[in-house]
Symmetry: D3
Subunit: 268 residues, 6 copies
């Protein structure tokens, strides 16, 4: 059974309705033609040039990313800017680009929940409920541990689960962790909510010094596993989930997880 871009949009949005997105966000079909048929799909965290080149190379005319390529609306689409180059390359190669971002973060069994499972836990509660949502949804999850872990053990679990070599953290390695919040991507906007929930630790990415310094002083550990680190594993999970959904409908359109979409950060 062949697959059109519009069908793919519907399948994704059945699972993660656009209405769940945060107000600031921009999700859905970013570039392309709903009526085009989908030959092969590449999934990635970001629509980098490397990902576009890889899609061209592997004849994927559909790229699905978590981060919206048009998060900042362009006033120019020229080779003078990175975004202009990307849009020109995408369109010149008849590629369709779709993004599912904060809607996919917050929906039940979406990225937030995937992160919790990847860390080896299956029970969690929503940190910041989306009150407008028709479905149970919200940003961030809180995990209450049946058995306490030390901060060191939780750091190791994060490195191992997210398959990352390095991370940054604050807090005493022997600190007892009974409950933690996990907010994939940039989670600082939800730190206060997590503090009010009384968590011992917050796992997220893109932390900045003043937050970490204050939370460290408030004896709340922070594990910064990186924006890429905390989200890439769930992108892989979501790709498989989508693949499964397509197969159930008898659709065998290949889904390739990008190999070129790597964390730009290196540790030294």
């Amino acid at each position: 059974m062949s697959l059109k871009v519009k069908d793919l949009c519907n399948i994704i949005e059945d699972f993660a309705p656009i209405s769940l997105k945060e107000d600031f966000d921009n999700v859905g079909l970013m570039v392309g033609d709903r009526e085009a048929s989908v030959d092969a799909i590449m999934t990635a965290l970001d629509c980098t040039m490397d990902v576009i080149d890889e899609a061209i190379e592997k004849n994927c005319n559909m790229i699905i990313t978590h981060h919206p390529i048009l998060f900042k609306k362009p006033s120019k689409i020229t080779m003078d800017t990175l975004l202009g180059k990307k849009i020109i390359k995408i369109i010149s190669n008849n590629i369709n680009v779709y993004s599912a971002h904060t809607n996919l973060d917050s929906v039940k069994d979406g990225i937030n929940d995937a992160v919790v499972n990847i860390l080896g836990f299956d029970k969690s509660s929503i940190l910041a409920k989306n009150n407008k949502a028709v479905k149970e949804a919200g940003i961030g999850r809180v995990v209450e541990l049946e058995q306490n872990m030390t901060l060191k053990e939780l750091c190791d679990r994060v490195k191992e689960s997210f398959k990352i070599q390095s991370l940054r953290y604050c807090g005493d390695e022997d600190k007892k962790i009974h409950s933690f919040a996990v907010i994939n991507g940039s989670g600082q906007d939800f730190f206060e909510e997590a503090r009010k929930r009384g968590v011992d630790c917050i796992i997220t990415g893109d932390t900045s010094y003043h937050y970490v310094s204050d939370y460290n002083e408030m004896n709340i550990a922070v594990i910064d596993a990186g924006h890429f680190g905390t989200e890439w594993p769930s992108v892989v999970v979501m790709s498989k989930k989508l693949e499964g959904a397509l197969h159930k409908m008898g659709i065998n359109t290949p889904i390739l997880v990008s190999q070129n979409n790597i964390d730009p950060y290196k540790f030294k």
Copy 2:
């Protein structure tokens, strides 16, 4: 001598510096590649689908318009929207799009001055001076007639000069016009300035009922020759001006004024 997009940008911006644009405006290279060479240029008031098709048909890989195609920044570039369709068609056909808008309006010998000349007058003063401008520039011109005209005569002059079949106006046909303001495009924001200058008539486009009703009551005639009507003739003039400038530099890149860019309004 071959011509690159960046050369063309410089030539235009030497004449009408981007710094002269109004704050709300978006001018310059809209879509494309500065380093691309220019095979042939199509000029138009707007980058409509018809103009894009005509450019493709006539192998013009450079479209110069007065109205910026990216006046509203797109949050999506898909076939769902008119703007998305245009951008996809432009990029898919390797076309570069450049816009010179309020900078070209207000610069000396730019569109405002062209409109005055097209109407058969050669002396005018700037209506709303651009105080930040390095060059003498501003929006709208005021013409003091050596010999009064009646409103009827001025209407006929407008129709004849702008080659339009119909126009809308308010005021008594026999009204004596000693001085008038002309603001090509949508000029209502400058009506108050024109009233303070004591003009007898204002020539512009896109007028709306409440303004015309009030100005009519204030015994200031208004001639609405249409946004397209008041700007298309100057687009032709500006094309010739550009052609002259290129020829002076030994550049023979063909410049075709679009034949398909017509006024969407019809009178019945």
Copy 3:
């Protein structure tokens, strides 16, 4: 039975509650004294100087207009400004001025519905529902035609129904119209809503070039019958409706539709 200004206000507001007005609007008794008795009523679209003079001449001490005379609140009431002149003349001649604007537009059987009937149709649905309204109300109506009309036929119907000599439109004359939206006055704010409703044509006034150019490209015809053109007929209808209501209450206060309130626009 004599009629006081306050009685008239109540009668009008029973039919078109002030609560139905759009947030930006200013309706109700604009100038005058609730306790004054009403000798004779003049109705008009706008409280122009001509209408005021006519009211004085015909001893109407009550003017009811659709457009609020105090839409812009005056910082000065002097003979230096048109609005100042009007207010001074109204008060100097003991005239009361009442305006029913967007409340009268949107109420069931108000101006929007009157426009639909004047065009010869009796069934329509509300284009933009007023969710705060206690009564079924909203701006603009959508008419689904039982039998398609061509754009040419619809233009002719508009000219004939609204008794206007000229109008402006865009779109192919032979275009099949199955459904159209009608927004009396300035309707551009509701174009997007109409597009989403899938109408083939929009009838309104005060259109501007960029909207008409885009909607023309999106194959949605636009008939600009003028702000005055689309509203004057309903003012006449509403006057009769008010007259009927007064008569039912045994009130024979004369209601004169202004003869001097004419469209300031002339076509040439």
Copy 4:
């Protein structure tokens, strides 16, 4: 020599240019006709109903007030509101109303300087300079006493100079006052400026508890002689100044200081 309203406006604005007004203010000809001739002038602090009735009674067709009658722009001019009643009575009786407010406060030898003189002092410096002003101007004056006064003595001087029976103050009666600031009307916005200037006392009107409590604690005395109290004497001075100017031009138009414009506050 007869006097037109426009002449009077020019005379006043020569002395206190409109450009000196604070941004929030609204000064100049409020209601009336520039071309009307001035039979007799009534001056007052406010255009109260009593003042209007007095003007009518004394055949003054010109009222000059310090406080602008149209400080709040009316959305309705009906007998339902106090402002509506005033405007209707003014216009119905062919009265012209002019206001000179913060421009007259801040200009050299304007109201601020008059207040200083009325208090018996002739040297002062400007408290808050108007940097946009072409003339030396600004709000509030600071007086450096050659000989210290006690707060009690300064209070008595204020009561005596402004001819008021009661005032409110804070601070120790025996407190030595070397310098004080005086801001006629409502001066709290300039308290911080006065504190920075190191004054021992601030004379103004319309003070509120939190300011007075804090300034009292900061050992800065405050004398609240009332908005009316601090401004009425200067209105009388300004009337005489205007009368003098008119006489110099051979204009004998009578100027009557209102007798009915009294302080609404009574002490008990």
Copy 5:
């Protein structure tokens, strides 16, 4: 039974939930330590330096005020500013400061109701309902008199009830008062609401000239008994109420009403 700061906070907030506060307000524990035990409590309207000194002198390590000391958030806490001095002195002397402001104003049997009772009336309705409130609450009360009073009588009642020597008022002493509104503190924001309720008089503090002049002209009397005047009596009542509540719980922590918190205003 000993009392901790947190217990006191709970007791107060059970009676006047923080959720009842106006949006602009800042209530609750201002300075100090929830876990500290309360030796003795001093209540006052404001946390002036005198009150702080008195608390130190009388070994009160808990000050409860109506007006929040941190109404304006400090950017500096130094001896350069009055607020800095206060905070430094409070902290240096281990004093805890709590404020219950607009929540205590608006709650049933709170300050508003206390004011009504102090004036000798027991029935009143809420002037401006707090629609978000879980409890019946709102700002200001309206009293319908069974027997009319003259304005003179009501002024005397206010002076006598609030134990103040002087007050300011507007309106005719013989004016019949059937209903009045009372808004303790600064009530001008609620004058319009009171006018709509048709009251004959408004009792409040911190009035300013333009309001009083207009309301005087609208024949609505205003009694300005002072911000301190209208609130201090209720502070005393609230202190007793708190004392009663503590005693019921077997808590005998002494509560001293400040003797040094006096009205900074003096009349002369």
Copy 6:
């Protein structure tokens, strides 16, 4: 010669005038008493609890930090919040706290210049000039290398100069660096300025994924040496500079660089 807090403030502000601060910033004497004498000074990047305890322990009654403790103005000063605890401890122990932030960053030979010197370079130009400054000042410096370095070499130089064990970076290790920008602390607001200056690399702290991903794609290397990492060394330099200045004035007040102010981030 003894030193008062006010003298110290003057010495610092002579070098780094408060007028150089960015608009959003809050610098100067944060907590304390200008008139207090300074026994000993502790310098730190941040006024953490550890630093306060260390100051108490080492009898330093003056803490000078780069980051202002009152960057966020407190609405409560209680033990419920970290900031409340700090302020209470500072005041309870008679400690004065001073902050020199973006004024000290941008002034010539301030922190920005210190960072350049610490990295082993002595020539640089200002990245973002402070146009309001009386002194040559601005945020960020640009270093043009006489001899290119590889990105690897520059990373090593940063680690070695700033004495940090780990850092994060993006870009190819062998990338040739001819010029780089350095913005101590959080520099992302100035990335665009650096890009326009054509630098090959940006050294700063607190970077976030989307910036680093884009700049990596734009082939501009980023070295994130940490907010603490890029600023602590200059704090030490500035302490010595202050010490030098004091000694020159014959003031021997001890200056201790905090030993407890450590980077909260740890790498794993």
